[in-house]
């Protein structure tokens, strides 16, 4: 746009000089030719075409001296870059036609050429600055995006670490209760049992039985709390990630897409299946890549384990049978495909917790 404005300025200057100096009937022809060449020089991109057009215009100047008035306009397109040497050729038509030019034109044409040169330099440096600015802006934007991504990664990692620390703390509390209070309670229960075994007095026996019942109740209550705490501290994603971290045979891609913590039976089942499948990769597969996907669907939980190795299924090994048993105990399905690598599909329906109770230990 800036170059167009420059060329318009130059054209107006040249036209004004031309109109004031030349008084011919066909002077419009020179103006049209100059416009056509100036437009073409702006339009064409190739170096050869630019040189050709420029040389053609210089050649035409020898036949029509009027065209010399518009040399500053033509100069504008070749005055920068590696074509600048061509501008020396402009002196030829100017020198050849100088005798036919009025004095004012002899002075003004080089002046306009200088103006053209100045305008071109200014526009070029402006364009350069603009490009540099755009580059800088793009780089800054990219750096900002990168920073944003890094920040997000850091936040996610922080969340993960926090979650891990919370789970570890819950586990520690559960273990402490188990080790201390639980042990003391079970000892008291045994002591009461021992006293009951040796006491002959019925009144004391009745008291001891009541005490034993109370202690048993306390024990059951603590046991349930510890189990709940332990269950909460067992995070499926963390456990799978730990298994993957311990697996150094080949790279593992892991996708976890579960919003709610699944029931513990499903968590234990998935962990056992993944452990077995990873150990199968080491023992039986020539795979170089493993993908583990755990997903929650409206009606079921899904586990997909895939490795890109080839496995000969010599009947079904104990490991695969164990997997099937575990999954079937939770009313789920196992599908194994060996067409493209080795793939295990497992889906376990979401059923009410109470229905799992018969399967739990």
């Amino acid at each position: 746009m800036q170059k167009l404005v420059d060329k318009m300025i130059l054209f107006i200057c040249c036209l004004a000089l031309f109109v004031s100096m030349v008084d011919a009937v066909y002077k419009i022809v020179a103006v049209l030719i100059a416009i056509i060449f100036a437009a073409l020089l702006s339009y064409v991109d190739g170096k050869k075409l630019t040189i050709g057009l420029f040389l053609a215009y210089v050649g035409l100047c020898f036949y029509n001296l009027d065209l010399v008035y518009f040399l500053p306009l033509i100069l504008y397109d070749i005055v920068s870059g590696d074509l600048i040497w061509l501008s020396a050729l402009l002196i030829l038509p100017y020198l050849v036609g100088i005798d036919g030019l009025p004095l004012a034109a002899r002075l003004m044409i080089p002046l306009f050429m200088g103006l053209g040169f100045f305008l071109k330099q200014r526009s070029s440096s402006l364009e350069l600055m603009k490009n540099e600015y755009h580059l800088l802006r793009d780089n800054a934007k990219e750096a900002a995006i990168l920073m944003e991504n890094k920040n997000r990664d850091l936040m996610e990692k922080q969340d993960y670490e926090l979650n891990l620390a919370t789970l570890a703390e819950r586990n520690r509390i559960a273990r402490d209760i188990h080790d201390n209070v639980g042990h003391l309670l079970s000892r008291s229960l045994l002591q009461t049992g021992a006293l009951l075994a040796v006491t002959k007095d019925e009144v004391t026996k009745a008291g001891l039985t009541q005490m034993k019942e109370t202690l048993t109740e306390a024990m059951d209550s603590i046991r349930n709390s510890v189990h709940d705490l332990h269950e909460e501290s067992f995070d499926l994603e963390v456990e799978i990630q730990t298994l993957i971290n311990q697996f150094s045979f080949c790279p593992v891609t892991f996708k976890y897409d579960i919003a709610n913590n699944p029931p513990k039976e499903i968590k234990y089942c998935f962990i056992a299946v993944i452990k077995e499948a990873l150990s199968n990769v080491i023992r039986h597969s020539n795979g170089t890549q493993v993908k583990i996907t755990v997903r929650e669907h409206p009606g079921f939980y899904q586990l997909i384990f895939w490795d890109n190795g080839r496995v000969e299924l010599m009947g079904q090994g104990i490991g695969l049978l164990n997997m099937e048993d575990r999954v079937k105990a939770l009313k789920g399905n196992v599908n194994i495909e060996t067409a493209n690598g080795f793939r295990i599909f497992i889906s376990i329906p979401k059923i009410l917790r109470s229905k799992y109770e018969c399967f739990s230990d």
Partner: protein
Amino acid sequence: MNVLVIDDDQLVCASLKTIIEADDGISVIGLGHNGQAAIDLYKDLQPDILLMDIRMQEMTGLEAGEQIIKDNPAAKILYLTTF
């Protein structure tokens, strides 16, 4: 029936002995308080049943059990655990 009781808590050991011996057909022939004692006492006393805690200092009940089974494949071990 002869029973050997192993638990790192002496009170638990004594209580178990009292409870078990309330049954006339069973007698506790030894008490021990760690895994190594379990191995040594099993060797000396050859009980019918070894009643042992899982978690103990120095050597756990499971480690001691593995050793005993290795030396006496027919050994009968009953483990105790709180939860």
